[in-house]
């Protein structure tokens, strides 16, 4: 049986009170509840405060480049689709530097679960605006306040036909555990945008700011299979902020569509050079 102790990692380098701690707790809990062992998990993380998360637990880890988690994770899943592959990074990492990979990874519907610690700020580089920073927000890089329209990750994912789109809040660990579990059980790509207060550099979107606003989808009559309704819901941001699964759709994951790995994961396949000898005939 897998226990929380199996996932116990070393010392953290986050600031006391940081919203990242709730995410760390939730990730470990979810994995334990799913009875997944550390060696079955591969976390691919980016650079930023968020990207440090897997260092603070126990699992396989490829802590790669700022913004480049998704291509690494995609290929890892294709190379060994028996692994539970997660991508973990910040809002700057995933929606800024890595925006192009997000778009195309969603299109691929690869079975990677993507956790975005969305603190609406660049944490590790000490407080510049991120793509999700609210309009007017004054940061070190926006002395006159943010003027670009904040990126709405939920709406973006929906527009790209994502098969699983959720939002959660690091201040509500049980909810986040639930989201992660649903994501893992989902076939294909899952985006979980996680509202994560940065207690140092974001004094606008604080724990209490979020707490006053978030409410849960799915407790009323919300239908998470209706894409248009989801898009409409995704527009809500301000007085009230919905969390939960916005949209979910069952369709084959990318790793199911490669004849090469229908039976055996790529990494388990023998290297047989001689099989290619028959291709020589084409050149005779």
């Amino acid at each position: 049986m897998v226990t929380l102790k199996d996932y116990q990692g070393g010392e953290t380098a986050w600031c006391p009170g940081c919203g990242n701690f709730g995410i760390l707790t939730a990730v470990k809990k979810a994995l334990v509840e799913l009875e997944i062992s550390p060696h079955e998990v591969l976390m691919v993380s980016g650079i930023g405060q968020a990207g440090k998360l897997p260092h603070y637990m126990k699992c396989n880890l490829f802590n790669g480049l700022h913004g480049r988690t998704l291509p690494v994770a995609t290929a890892a899943k294709l190379a060994n689709h028996r692994l539970h592959v997660f991508a973990v990074g910040g809002d700057g990492d995933g929606y800024g530097e890595g925006g192009n990979h997000l778009i195309h990874t969603i299109r691929r519907n690869i079975g990677v679960k993507y956790l975005v610690h969305n603190n609406q700020i660049y944490g590790l580089t000490k407080g510049q605006a991120s793509p999700t920073s609210d309009l007017g927000f004054v940061t070190k890089s926006t002395p006159r306040g943010v003027v670009s329209t904040p990126l709405n990750p939920i709406a973006l994912a929906l527009a790209l036909g994502a098969s699983f789109v959720a939002r959660s809040f690091s201040g509500d660990v049980p909810h986040l555990v639930q989201m992660i579990k649903e994501a893992v059980n989902h076939r294909g790509f899952a985006l979980i945008d996680i509202l994560q207060p940065c207690v140092i550099f974001n004094h606008l979107n604080t724990f209490s700011w979020y707490r006053e606003r978030v409410y849960k989808l799915g407790e009323g009559d919300y239908d998470a299979t209706d894409g248009l309704a989801a898009f409409k819901k995704a527009q809500e941001w301000g007085e009230r902020i919905p969390i939960g699964v916005f949209y979910k759709e069952e369709r084959p994951a990318l790793e199911e569509l490669f004849p090469a790995i229908e039976d055996v994961p790529l990494v388990k396949q023998k290297i047989e050079s001689r099989q290619f000898e028959k291709l020589i005939e084409e050149f005779m």
Binding site: L78, A260, I271, M284
Partner: protein, 573 residues
């Protein structure tokens, strides 16, 4: 017969590549040595392209400027290439379509289109008529052409194959009956082993597959697109995962992700695409993830000459990326070398857990060679310190970046029970977690920079020609054929010239080079670039300076003739 040169010219979209390939294949089927190269523009229709085929009973190593038989699909081709015709050279064209005023004896008019329509009912067979006409001019065995056409077009339908054969025959017969001139020589099949006809890209792809590469991610870019496409086409039948990435950044990050997870992985691109991979290249260095990057060079900077050739990226790849770490750089000489070098590339990548660059170029990628059937028994898969599940499970507290004497750490894979594989692009401890320690930093730098120690001994340059010759021609990669031929021809003329040629450039084989250049008087660096990059690298590593340089940077391949002329004008003078 010393050699014979065909050239097929016309607009993009006229099917020049198809005629050329069929001709080359038909000649190769006669057990002759064939080399074919391509000259094309960055457009899909129009402009001017040509396909050049050199054939001989003896090995042919590179392309040539001479034309014995020109197949002109348009007027421009006649205008542009007539001056390249040898004394007995002939230009064949469709006089009913291509208006040419001056008719000289070197010009032979065959109504390609009319014959196509008459025999096969459609002018699309005109090119096949031309092919037939060409082979008729050199009195080549028609049956072989018929066989090749049937093989190639059977895939479409039996009817198409038959129509092609009929069209070819019409061209062949028409020529037999009407050609009254003379050609340089006749061509006929010779005894000898049947060889394969393969181009550089195909050889790279096949070499990678034979070397156990199971994952390929790429983004289309001339001249390397063919590698992606070849592997993509074979992926279902041969259990490969091939993915077209959204950009080159993703392409290399994907290959790294797949390799980290345990499969041999590669990407292929050209200079512009590689520029986007530079950050991930450094990531491979830091995380000690083996990966192979094929860089098909084309003239830069920037978009440059997308469909032409150059060797402009040597110093770039030697020094690329921020920070210091080991890498290996190989540069195949021709298609045959490419096949075997890919095996070496993957082995080095895994033995040293480093990124390896295979530097090809447009000339190599797009050119065809007849090559002895690849010997798969020479393929050896050496995965270095890769641990099996069982081996790894025996290690207590496995750490990915363990300090070892060689600098290479045993590598487990994610998914092994009881083992966790942790790595980081930040400076890290042996266990792969972030560190700020100065002491560990120093040891990790030393590990990453010097773990390839000894590898330079496997990077031996090839010595060719009379050992005692005071003049040495140096070069690397795809100039091999041209330099080798130039050496042969110059020695025949009485000059004393030898060659030192590199297909493996980094880590630089300093001792071997110093040794090989002992006693040299003239050292002539031959490169397809403007600044003579290998000359600078060689001087930095050995202190030895070149006395002369023969450079070409107009986007066209270096030929033996180009070298010989430059040698006579500049080096000898």
């Amino acid at each position: 017969m010393v050699e014979f040169n065909f050239r097929v010219g016309g607009e993009a979209g006229q099917g020049i590549q198809t005629i050329g390939y069929i001709l080359a294949k038909t000649l190769a089927r006669g057990n002759m040595h064939v080399h074919a190269s391509q000259d094309y523009e960055s457009r899909i229709r129009g402009g001017h392209n040509f396909f050049h085929i050199r054939v001989s009973e003896n090995p042919v190593y590179g392309t040539s400027e001479k034309v014995d038989l020109l197949i002109a699909l348009n007027r421009e081709t006649v205008d542009l290439h007539t001056k390249a015709l040898t004394e007995k050279g002939v230009a064949v064209f469709d006089g009913e379509k291509t208006k040419i005023e001056k008719r000289d004896p070197s010009q032979f008019d065959v109504p390609f289109e009319r014959l196509a329509v008459e025999t096969s009912g459609n002018k699309i067979f005109a090119n096949t008529v031309a092919t037939g006409a060409a082979l008729s001019l050199v009195k080549y065995d028609f049956d072989i052409l018929s066989e090749v056409l049937t093989e190639i077009f059977r895939a479409k339908s039996k009817q198409v194959a038959e129509d092609n054969v009929k069209a070819a025959e019409a061209g062949y017969r028409y020529t037999e009956e009407n050609f009254k001139g003379e050609v340089a020589c006749e061509l006929k099949p010779v005894e000898g082993p049947r060889r394969i006809l393969i181009n550089g890209n195909e050889a790279v792809a096949l070499g990678a597959m034979a070397a156990g590469c199971k994952f390929m991610s790429g983004y289309p870019m001339t001249p390397s697109t063919g590698i992606l496409q070849y592997m993509m086409n074979k992926s279902s039948d041969f259990n490969l995962v091939v993915e077209q990435a959204e950009d080159e950044i993703a392409a290399l990050n994907m290959a790294i992700g797949a390799s980290f997870t345990g499969v041999r992985a590669m990407t292929a691109t050209s200079g512009g695409g590689f520029s986007l991979m530079v950050e991930a290249f450094s990531l491979a260095g830091m995380t000690e993830t083996p990966v192979v990057v094929v860089l098909g060079q084309r003239p830069g900077p920037s978009t440059g000459f997308p469909t032409r050739t150059e060797q402009g990226e040597l110093e770039f790849v030697i020094h690329t990326s921020h920070g210091e770490f080991a890498r290996a750089i190989l540069a195949p000489r021709d298609a045959e070398d490419a096949f075997y070098l890919m095996n070496k590339a993957f082995n080095i990548a895994e033995r040293y857990q480093i990124p390896v660059v295979v530097l090809t170029d447009e000339y190599l990628a797009d050119s065809y060679w007849t090559v002895d059937r690849f010997d798969f028994s020479k393929i050896v898969i050496d995965r270095g310190e890769l641990l099996s599940e069982e081996e790894a499970s025996k290690i207590k507290d496995y750490v990915r970046h363990k300090f070892t004497e060689s600098g290479v750490s045993p590598r487990a894979l994610p998914g092994y029970p009881g083992v966790l594989v942790v790595t980081d692009s930040d400076e890290h401890t042996e266990d792969g977690h972030i560190t700020e320690s100065a002491e560990i930093r120093v040891k990790m730098v030393q590990k990453r920079v010097w773990k390839t120690k000894g590898l330079e001994k496997e990077m031996v340059p090839l010595s060719y020609g009379p050992e005692k010759a005071g003049t040495v021609f140096l070069g690397w990669g795809s100039t091999y054929g041209a330099i080798r031929e130039a050496v042969d021809l110059l020695n025949e003329e009485g000059f004393e010239v030898r060659m030192l040629h590199f297909n493996a450039l980094w880590p630089f084989p300093t001792d071997a080079v110093i040794d090989a250049l002992k006693g040299s008087e003239k050292r002539v660096m031959i490169e397809s670039n403007a600044t003579s990059q290998l000359a600078r690298v060689l001087r930095a590593e050995t202190g030895i300076q070149m006395t002369n340089k023969i450079l070409r940077y107009d986007g066209r391949p270096i030929t033996s003739n180009y070298i010989i002329q430059a040698f006579k004008m500049e080096v000898r003078a």
